[in-house]
Symmetry: D2
Subunit: 365 residues, 4 copies
């Protein structure tokens, strides 16, 4: 649709004259819990998405010390449940929403600490940018957390964490809390205060059952809404990206654009997104690669995994490095630039937009 | 999930001691646009949906005079676009949201008036509880509006209205504006200031092509996200409900419960909901019928089409009659009781909840 | 794929020399139940489908007297089950297959006769080109049979017939018997010797529940593999086709080609074909209309319902009139020509071809 | 459905008396290419599937020498295309069909031989029970063939083979030739006489792109009817089965039955079968394990990959060992018994039966 007209201007030009009769009418509206469309159309129905959320960057060098200090001052346990610190979009304050749909937080677990088990409707994942030594127990299945690993706890699964080492560990959590809260869909339930399984195997049972490429256990033929894979290991992600760039170098189509390798994490029972509301991807840019400026309906969050580069959002350039996170709200133009080899973890609300028919994208020619 | 624990109580019991160090930490959070989970968990992740929206009833006898008075004081035309007065849930003020996802309004068009054409991403419908004489033109196809008719204008379709008589007409509009606004998905575009087709046929071209039961035009084999039917006529709805009650009386399964006939309006290309975000239904209760108390994730709105009865919401009973509208927010227990034969039009956000895996219901045994 | 090479020629040119050693080898194959690919490749894997089935026309003026004579000589009842006379493709003799997948028969029921109930895996339908007075009882639901009506008895449904008049009646049956027999999928079970319901209502209960355009009973939300509609009435089919031609005359897109209206019968729970193996359609050509020559994978059968015209199959023109039936085997080029207004009922095995990924079509430019 | 009645008996009891008039009628039928249902109902519509195909075992010790002898006597090249020897079900002679839907063959390629490129609608796979040294080139992508590997060449993909060693190699081919031939769906096209790529990489490009568990290349988001994976490697299959049995030993649900591990090869874009007509699986039984007797609609073929055991088909026990193949026709009762650890590759036509609504199974309690 064209955006030639400045809608709000047109809008205001058309308001009826402010007369005593009109005021009387508006008072009548108020008494009956009514609000006219004509006084607020520009806000309710803008010419294109104009999010209150703003593009923003959080520096890992600022986040991590605050998380460590929280480890000293704030206990973890039943009630608060998690020592998680949410990234709050400046445009959405006082809510701890990184975007209208997504929650992102840094979670911190000190040596030998345990975060008790609970479950909720909200879909969740963890991504590990550095560290090791924590196991997440999902429905009794312990899942090791190591650098580069993605862990899933889709809605409805009990989960808790334990740090089995003498070192602390921090990672990021992603959830659909803002969507769930605004849309009134969430249920929450406490589980065991202690973890239901204290083992610390290298691979979870879910991985052992499911992580064989192109092979499905014959005992698991029922498709599931969310992925049955508890952990997507860095070794696989790294290998997939490495192969894409190698194939490109050999002259074969494998990347999304020259110098730009990327994978989407999928639910092996359907080939689609791992959870109903959250899309998860990993992107690797060769040194010097720049992506095309684009806009998409919906919001997306990145965390730099390795390397240095920059993101341009709404015309402003931000340098980013390992651990830094940034959010791109709906319809904000953005692009990436790799100064070194540049690895980025990404999540977004694209499944919501696609399933409900609202997805639209614009890519610079 | 059990609801035995009062989450917010547990929550507050667990806050760390208020020390200077903690205050310093919290100031650090604020400076970095961070918010801890542990201070707000009960709000972010309640044990079950606790909507800010409240159950509420709007009386047609109050709505209609205010709409008529608007007809005298407020012009309709480019800019304001529609003389539509939104039902604003008292719990969601100052937004004109009837629920966190849905917009409902009474729209009023005076004799010979025209509402200009536009289109938007938001999905819309009209339902006519009384009156006639207006045609809605959807992508150039004029659709008559008469009592009991449901008209669709799914996202992306140009539409305008004209009243071809000397009498005014009022009807209700339903849209997914609150969802679209909060999720940042909406686009809006002006169309022709005048209607692109001034004809006033009894049946739209879409109906002539599509409204033959079980028959699909061979030229229309591509499934569409939204229904290609522009109007669902009262004669068909009434016949379907009449037959269900007749079959029940003859001893055959046809109703959803004894004395309770109901149809869902569907997209004939898929057999599913007519639009990606909004479910539309019509319910008919025999005199004396009472529905079971139930709770559902998501919100729903009813308009009484004919007859007298009551709705119980969250323990409170409200008498309702022709034209009255009421909203049931997420997880609020509700039931209906028919004092006479009782006909109700209904819409809800259930497709959102179902597609994203959040639907859950509880029905009294 | 190109068809430049004459495969069978190439084939034979490559056979190994006929030596005693080769003969010995071939005897070894035979003893071990083996057959070499190289001696039969051209038959097993032709360059394009080369059906043993041939294009063929059956004249109603020949079929009906033989059916009537059968009525005098052959009883109907348990064992033989139906007085049905199958159209046997001359290329597929001695099988009563009209094509490799489809069975077509004329069935005849004398005054007051009853065909007992049974059920089977095979999907079946009846189409009535003339006559009336018979009811088909499907799972206890009596369905009137009148000129132009299509009746379904999908696999697994008990069904029987009764003629309640003093006049005989003939109609056509279509089934997937050849597919079922060759693929070994069929089960068969006797039901009641007498009909389980002797009522003769104008409309079946299935129609009363389901035949309201765009409306789905709320008690019937589970999608079914086959259509729940027992009868597709001529009045609806005729109206749909009439409207398509009227819309075309008014300048709107509605037909599949100029002068060519057509509908597909669909399962209202999915918008797709009425049964898993058989596609059903009705076509109407204006006087003078000629369709483009085309080829499709899979076979199709037509019955002329009204009017005069011709079908060209594999270069040969056949004049056809009311009641005449013809079969077009896989990949045979065909077109239709209307000398008067020309109405044709059609069925095919296209759902098999589409679901298994084998559908391919070619249409003359 | 019950099978209490012997249908053919009932059938014959009901034939009309053999009179001159009846004979005259039957002559009339014949002249008009008609065949009555009542004389053949028992064959056309049996009470349960009664396949002409019979259970049969082929011994690898007999197959391999015949294949080797063919290597000496029969050239491979354009025209005959492949030195493939089809397993011909004794009940389906003179067709080289192992079942009504499936073709199975042993293919043999001598030292340094090349089988030229071609493509066809028929879906094909190869499975390697022993040997190495051959590469299959699929659309220009060379795929190594080694023991335990499954290779796919779905319909429409060009493919050829080359043996790059001084040793011969034999493997099995599986296709849907019988289905394609009987249903008239096949196209065939010659490709390059020489292979389009002579490289012999350890892993094909398709594997490098796709074989990372749970990861999908972002450049490959369009679902495909058939799997994009060219080879499913034995190392993965073996690991998956080993893990299932290990998990079972640790007390977790992972196998289909005690002592019975199994995987299905899947299309990673959908999570479903790798090709539209053929299901592929691998089964591993612990020593001493016996499977429940069962019957299924559709036919299935096994090849013993390793170990010794027996198959019971229709009450008869057959000892089988490495390389032996056997076919179970539709609705024939069968079970397996492992004398040692027992590994079996399996393929079947189950996707056809499931997609067309004909699948039915019976398992002994």
């Amino acid at each position: 649709m064209s955006e030639a007209l400045d809608h709000s201007t047109v809008d205001h030009a058309m308001q009826p004259d402010d007369t005593p009769e009109l005021r009387e009418l508006y008072r009548g509206f108020e008494k009956q819990s009514l609000l006219p469309l004509w006084t607020q159309l520009g806000d309710l129905m803008p010419v294109h998405p104009k999010s209150r959320a703003v593009p923003h960057v959080w520096k890992w060098s600022k986040l991590l010390p605050l998380a460590e200090r929280s480890g000293e001052l704030v206990p973890v346990g039943r009630g608060g449940e998690r020592r998680a610190i949410g990234l709050s979009n400046p445009g959405l304050a006082p809510h701890a929403y990184i975007s209208p749909t997504l929650w992102a937080a840094i979670q911190y677990l000190g040596p030998r600490e345990v975060a008790p088990e609970h479950r909720h409707s909200q879909n969740a994942f963890r991504f590990v940018v550095e560290g090791e030594g924590v196991w997440t127990v999902v429905n009794g299945d312990p899942v090791r957390m190591s650098r580069g690993d993605l862990l899933l706890t889709p809605g409805g699964n009990f989960h808790g964490h334990q740090n089995v080492t003498d070192k602390s560990m921090a990672w990021i959590d992603g959830l659909d809390i803002p969507f769930s809260q605004q849309m009134d869909v969430g249920f929450f339930e406490f589980g065991s205060d202690k973890l239901t399984c204290l083992e610390t195997p290298e691979f979870s049972r879910g991985e052992r059952l499911w992580c064989h490429p192109g092979l499905r256990p014959l005992s698991q033929l029922k498709d599931s809404v969310s992925s049955p894979i508890g952990a997507y290991r860095w070794a696989h992600t790294d290998a997939a990206l490495t192969q894409q760039l190698a194939l490109e170098a050999e002259g074969y189509a494998a990347t999304v654009a020259p110098g730009h390798a990327a994978i989407r994490y999928i639910n092996p029972t359907t080939g689609g997104d791992v959870m109903p509301t959250i899309r998860l991807e990993f992107h690797r840019l060769r040194e010097g690669t720049e992506t095309k400026m684009r806009r998409d309906v919906g919001s997306t969050v990145f965390q730099v995994f390795e390397g240095n580069g920059a993101v341009v959002m709404d015309g402003e350039t931000h340098s980013v490095e390992k651990g830094d996170m940034f959010v791109v709200p709906s319809w904000i133009p953005w692009s990436l630039r790799a100064e070194t080899g540049f690895d980025l973890f990404r999540f977004s609300d694209a499944p919501i937009m696609e399933k409900l028919g609202f997805m639209r994208s614009w890519v610079d020619a």
